[in-house]
């Protein structure tokens, strides 16, 4: 094994730049971390002495808490910074914020930002490891990985598995990370939603487009149901929430017509009664809470794989 290179390089900005083998390494490494969470002492000393900053410019509960659990269970020291109540609200730029943090000797930054490309932008400018926790409508790689891990837990192999992503694909970084990751690992990916919520030319990512949710249900082995992002809905993408539920909502009646047993994933937070009905979300098909459990293991795996190396970015401190 090489003495300096880590299996992933310095950063995790998305699943698009990773190879299938790199994705498999993250998934395989997550397995032993599942067991740590079941222990009485849920902590190992691996990242002792490392300082990790969670820089969240957008609201997040699940992802932020999940990263924080992962960091603490690896014994890292963590600091949480939000946009509100920090100097970001005084107009400080992203790079200035990060450089000031680096001046206090940090080792890693986990960043959630409203702007696509923010994580990659930061990764190219600071020597710390950067992990993308969601950048605009671009990617949310750890969510994609935990979805893929949950699918692998249930189906064993991913090759040939049919996964349909249902709902607001246009605004969804979760959809993009899922598509990149699943396609690389040999799964067949479909997308289904109102045309207004599907990006133009989405087929070029190697996915099949379904206009009717009934067709998607008939085709798929698993559905990844996306949240209708109500906060991004000012521009009339759907006529009404009730109509969306009637046409694209995942209901028990629709699932009962499926030829086989479908697995239902949802990245959360759910709008019950809009994109997913309560009896589906809480029903036997749902693995939504297992996704949350797997999220901690995936993030521990990524932190571990990124932390081991000695990242040195030439000239990082002096470039603009």
């Amino acid at each position: 094994m090489s003495l300096t290179a880590t299996p992933l390089g310095k950063d995790l900005t998305g699943l698009e730049p990773l190879s299938a083998d790199q994705i498999r390494v993250i998934l395989d490494t997550a397995e032993p971390f599942k067991e740590i969470t079941a222990r009485r002492v849920k902590k190992v000393p691996m990242l002792r002495g490392k300082t990790i900053v969670n820089l969240f410019f957008e609201a997040s509960t699940r992802t932020r808490i999940s990263f924080e659990f992962a960091e603490k269970r690896l014994s890292a020291d963590t600091v949480n910074i939000g946009a509100v109540g920090s100097s970001v609200s005084k107009g400080e730029t992203l790079v200035d914020t990060a450089r000031n943090l680096e001046a206090m000797s940090i080792d890693m930054v986990v960043i959630r930002h409203w702007s696509a490309g923010a994580a990659a932008f930061l990764a190219a400018r600071i020597p710390s490891n950067v992990i993308n926790a969601g950048d605009g409508a671009h990617e949310h790689p750890t969510q994609g990985l935990l979805d893929i891990l949950t699918l692998r837990d249930h189906f064993g192999a991913l090759e040939g598995l049919r996964v349909c992503i249902v709902g607001d694909v246009l605004h969804s970084r979760v959809a993009r990370s899922n598509i990149y990751g699943l396609v690389k690992l040999g799964a067949e990916v479909g997308v289904c939603g109102p045309r207004t919520l599907l990006p133009a030319a989405i087929e070029e990512l190697g996915v099949t487009v379904f206009g009717h949710v009934e067709e998607a249900i008939e085709w798929a082995d698993a559905l990844n149901v996306l949240r209708l992002q109500l906060e991004r809905m000012q521009d009339g993408f759907v006529p009404s929430l009730r109509e969306y539920n009637r046409v694209f909502g995942i209901t028990r009646q629709r699932l009962e017509r499926a030829p086989g047993r479908l697995l239902i994933l949802h990245p959360g937070p759910m709008n019950r009664g809009v994109e997913i009905d309560s009896d589906v979300a809480d029903g036997p098909h749902s693995v939504i809470l297992q996704q949350v459990t797997n999220g901690v293991a995936i993030r521990m795996s990524v932190l571990y794989l990124l932390a081991g190396g000695a990242p040195h970015l030439a000239g990082a401190a002096s470039s603009p």
Binding site: R39, V41, V44, L74, A307, G308
Partner: protein, 175 residues
């Protein structure tokens, strides 16, 4: 040591475990990944053959407790860690590994065991003691002492991973 030598050593070690701990009462065997796991199973079989009782066994991977992660980088393949049924609280734990060298693996394993619970006692049992410790850790039960030079290596081979049971000296190409 060939397979027969190793088997004889394992048989004696099993009896030493029983003698030292006064029977199988609170005994659990824990093998250190990877080859310690096979040796722990073999000692367990020898004990059940002698006493007619099954001994609970577990496995332990010390990767997350290593002190050289930052120097060597992460190792992607982490073995399974499996607590023995009933845990380790108030048990007499026999920690089994293949080769004892610097003592750093044993140190990591001890720390991990402490995080699992509070064993009544821990006994370190190794097939080969090659000397040159870097920490004040000594084995309680030893298959064979092989003082070898720092630039030599000594490997324990087990059927599951290597296709044979033996202890060999100086194969620098493996691992």
């Amino acid at each position: 040591m060939d397979g027969a030598d190793v088997r004889r050593a394992i048989g004696r070690m099993a009896h030493e475990v029983l003698e030292k701990l006064g029977g199988t009462g609170r005994l659990v065997l824990i093998g250190v990944q990877r080859r310690g796991v096979d040796l722990a199973d073999m000692i367990g079989e020898a004990i059940s053959a002698a006493e007619g009782k099954q001994v609970p066994t577990g496995t332990l991977d010390i990767t997350f407790y290593r002190d050289d992660l930052m120097a060597l980088g992460p190792r992607p393949l982490v073995g399974e860690t499996k607590l023995p049924p009933g845990g380790v609280d108030d048990r007499a734990v026999v920690l089994v590994d293949d080769v004892l060298y610097t003592g750093r693996t044993a140190r990591a394993a001890l720390n991990e065991l402490m995080d699992w619970g509070r064993p009544a006692r821990i006994v370190l049992c190794v097939l080969v003691d090659r000397g040159d410790r870097e920490l004040p850790i000594q084995p309680d039960i030893v298959g064979r002492e092989f003082p070898v030079l720092a630039n030599q290596r000594i490997d324990v081979l087990v059927p599951r991973l290597d296709g044979e049971l033996a202890v060999v000296l100086g194969r620098l190409d493996r691992r």
